[in-house]
């Protein structure tokens, strides 16, 4: 079946089987390898992308369910000239990664969390709870949480 998705701002159409999971559509049909597969069982969050602006685990969504919708992956965050998104920059400045495997999913989960916070000022507890669906085997989370809190204070990030 043909599935058309606006992926990182560009409409793309690929002919895939109905059983194709969104993460395979992104990685294999569209060739964007930034989104990782960790557990493949909805547990680790490595495959997190934004579907219409909200974080989802793309290993547990059919590509067909995203038909006509907007999907944003880690590749879609930086500006065309390479300027990093505030969450990406915060990860760099706060050393929010080691091996980097969980990082695309962490960043996308945090972008969603920041978009959803409204007028609420995020606390460390909010950030830790908000990342309950994202596992990291390297960092011990501390610097990831620091990066999220720093990004939350970034003035240009009023989504």
């Amino acid at each position: 079946m043909e599935v058309t998705i606006t992926l990182n701002g560009t409409e793309c159409t690929h002919d895939v089987e109905p059983r194709t999971l969104l993460v395979y559509y992104i990685r294999e049909a569209a060739g964007l390898k930034g989104t990782n597969i960790g557990c493949d069982t909805t547990s680790c969050g490595a495959c997190t992308v934004l579907l219409d602006g909200r974080s989802v685990k793309s290993c547990t969504v059919l590509a067909a369910q995203a038909e006509g919708r907007t999907v944003t992956t880690i590749e879609g965050l930086a500006e065309a000239d390479g300027t990093m998104h505030p969450v990406q920059r915060a990860f760099q400045e706060h050393h929010g990664l080691q091996c980097g495997y969980c990082t695309p999913g962490m960043v996308m989960a945090i972008v969603s969390m920041l978009a959803e916070r409204g007028d609420h000022v995020l606390t460390e507890a909010d950030v830790r709870l908000g990342l309950e669906g994202n596992l990291c085997r390297c960092t011990g989370y501390h610097n990831i949480v620091e990066a999220a809190l720093a990004a939350a204070r970034a003035p240009e990030l009023r989504l």
Partner: protein, 276 residues
Amino acid sequence: MIPASFDYVRADSLDQATGLLERHGDGAKVLAGGHSLLPLMKLRLAVPEVLVDIGRIPGLSYVRDGGDHLAVGALTTHDEIARSPLVGSQLPLLAHVAGQIGDPQVRHRGTIGGSLAHGDPASDLPAVVLALRGTLVLRGPGGSREVDSEAFHLGFLETAVAPDEILTEIRLPKMGELGWGFEKLTKRAQDWAIVGAVAARLDGDGSTAIALINVGPVPARALAAEAALEAGSSPAEAAARADDGIEVSGDLNASEAFRRHLTRVLVGRALEKALV
């Protein structure tokens, strides 16, 4: 992990969806948020021939004020319920429980209708619906019918929803300021309950309802503990009877004896919060 092949149909209306279900019988499965069904399909524990995606049917995602109750559309996500000001003020128990399900990504996709229709005793929302004596609205090819929450759960992963029916709405009596308690023991924050308990004061006769999560094959009410409270027992005395007459399962996470213990302890804690 990739699901076995299937045909996919996106339904545009309830009539089209129930028609497809009627035509394909047992080979068809409804797809809502997919956060219970797709994991089972990836493990090939579910191998439907036809998936009827109801996710785009308009008008199934809402919270409405029905006077003495709130009506929640089946496609309303856990996240929408948790953030709804109406649910927050009239059914704070439901908002709280929905906000504790899985993790944010799961709550963005999972729906209340899917949680109920899946019939998993480990799911949290069925216990809330059971405690509050909710009503479920089912729509089939021949029209709609209402089912009492008491009559909804028939067995493990088995509910009153017929193969050609769709759960469209869940109605729950408003609680306002009435006391409630929710306790859920998990190993990790995002996990399902090993055991959970819901306690809620009910309007009218002032009785207290208690429902259990992941104790036996179906979501169950702790009838012996409810009766003890009714007869004037203290919350602690009632909690000591929380597993009386309940079928309790043992599994990798907890033996039957440990589950019985957890049931009594968590019901005690939930009652303490509900009855302050």
